[in-house]
Subunit: 425 residues, 2 copies
Amino acid sequence: MTETALLARRKKLLGAATLFYEQPAHIVRGDGVFLYDDKGKEYIDLYNNVPCVGHANPHVVAAMQEQMSTLNVHSRYLHEGILDYAERLLDLHSANFDNVVFACSGTEASEIALLMARYATGGRGIICTDSTYHGNSAEVRKMSRVSLSGSPIDEDYRAIPFPQSYQSVAGHLQGEALTDYYLAKVQAAIDDFAENNIPLAGLFVCSIFANEGLPDIPPGFMEKAAAMVKKAGGVVIADEVQAGFCRSGHWWGYQTSGFVPDIVTMGKPMGNGLPISAVAASAELVSAFRDNTRYFNTFSSSPLQAATGMAVLDVIDNENLLERSAEVGAYLRAELKRIQSQSEVMGDVRGCGLFIGVEWVSDRESKTADRAGAVRVANRLKDKGFLLSNAGALGNVIKIRPPLVFKKEHADLFLTAFDEMLGEL
Amino acid sequence: MTETALLARRKKLLGAATLFYEQPAHIVRGDGVFLYDDKGKEYIDLYNNVPCVGHANPHVVAAMQEQMSTLNVHSRYLHEGILDYAERLLDLHSANFDNVVFACSGTEASEIALLMARYATGGRGIICTDSTYHGNSAEVRKMSRVSLSGSPIDEDYRAIPFPQSYQSVAGHLQGEALTDYYLAKVQAAIDDFAENNIPLAGLFVCSIFANEGLPDIPPGFMEKAAAMVKKAGGVVIADEVQAGFCRSGHWWGYQTSGFVPDIVTMGKPMGNGLPISAVAASAELVSAFRDNTRYFNTFSSSPLQAATGMAVLDVIDNENLLERSAEVGAYLRAELKRIQSQSEVMGDVRGCGLFIGVEWVSDRESKTADRAGAVRVANRLKDKGFLLSNAGALGNVIKIRPPLVFKKEHADLFLTAFDEMLGEL
């Protein structure tokens, strides 16, 4: 089937579902960091965080196959697998969590976290950022940029400008003064809820502000913001769906950003592609949720989720992917910074671990966001066999977020192509 | 680990997550309609609709294993698998659907259906029943009995009494008069929305009212109720999460109940345990949804969902499970009715296909619901090696809903145990 015919067939069956690239990629096979299209063209994957231990990882496939051949059933029967997995997940956290609630998607985890925060505090008000995305349900969409841009924000939510050092809305403030500027926005949201008799439930942020564009966070902001929210009676929810599982060079984004959340949500990479998500918190917070909801999720806390999740953790441990995320990420960031010194349009190179953002601008002086330029970069690199995308509040940030099994040798191939692409722009 | 220790460990790690049975079952292996506990005890599964083609079905396991070894990635690349699956799903419907939107859970499908109905009609008002459950998100929970019992229903929802012939709230009305009684409730909800300037979005019901207790629906009710809602500018959403995939002896519950929905949600059995759900509707309705939401779901529309879903459909076809659901279900229902004639506490035996409800009452005359009795039945049958549960608006309906591979020989074993259990009560 030609690509045109395939696109038409897709439109006919799925409607206008979103696609990447001017000429969409028709991917048929994956292996480690490589993806292959229907014509056999090889791509290095610099985008996909879900298959964190690599496409078609054999250890994960074997674990799934074994569990599916043995048992996969709902969680109203006893099963040890999910307990072993919950225990292992909790042990990976430096924050003091006791219990896990499993679900299938990041959206479902966000729903749980919102209910948990609200039942635990008795409050309703949630502070989020003005450029975030935590999922697609009716309630969770109230926080998302998609809904913010179209309609007034719901009365139970207040959006603060996300903290950043590069394209700051705070003029020329720097260092502590910049931190204070953003902290004042948090306090204003707390005060505004109080004035409107909306009791505070908490702060809900991606711990590394991934959708906002992975900004350099002004020093100490998250620690101080979390303290403010707790002082006002709220809880702090860290969305680790993108940030977690060694992505940032630490196990969790909250470690990278230096704060201690009360609740974390986890998702995307947990099952290397199997739908798994989870929420971890103290026993007190989880009780507030469970006692009020009698929550049950047909497909979650299953033996299949447990076996698959465990296999992913095995590979992360056995292949030292935490260390590699930090090391390969640092190498790639340093090399991109080297290239940046010769490029007027690479406004900023930043990130943590194997999550790097390159902000595309008209020029270094005006820093005018160049979304079209970022889109062009993604498309040209795709032609050269490297898959990535653009993201961020203004859509002008090149998003580099490969599977964790991405190595220095892959980085070098990418850097050569990137350099070449720059010369052709 | 002793059962007591296992329960304590579960409480410590998961909090107060719900469990079945006085002495919870510790299931470690499954095969077809059989489940086995840690001591090797064999159970015949009369409860689980999710593993519809049988526990650990080898054809499904092989398809998952092959796809996971090849590719599993998000849907912003082109892939033919999900198109083949969407086409096959659409072909199975007698209602006139064009497009499919895939998701992971029934809750997510309900969220999509609600947004679709609202964007398509421009309305907000949703009519549901007073004893339903369509999922656990903040928005979907507004329809659920769990939330109804605790808090006043949201202004965008009106709950009607679910249609039934046995424990009717309509006194001694029968036949058409009973139908008219329930239709008047639908009209009252439509009128109430109009009076409160809440434009109607639609009617959202399980097509066989499974959670309500699988009632005998007064004749013609669903067809006429659907017509009323459409005349008033709403759309009709059939929740096929429990009712679909041959469960009712037809492919879809709406065929069993005799109406044509505008939107269907599908879920539980689709992936035999892999999280898959979907919404099907006309191209016009799906456009209203996609254009307004730019909906994307990380784990859905994936090659893994497609391959697994296709394998489930293969087994249903190859093993004639549609016919078997109708035949074995009819046999089991007839035999239970025979037993009922000698039992004062089996108030009603009803259902469709391999979904049977037995209403437990104090006596035939007063029909007083006996929830404790139904719970006792489930526990005694579990001891005898047969797994089922109690359900329904009053919790007094024995719910018999085995995997579709359940055969006459399994029914006979169950009937013997059921008869024995009755004698011991």
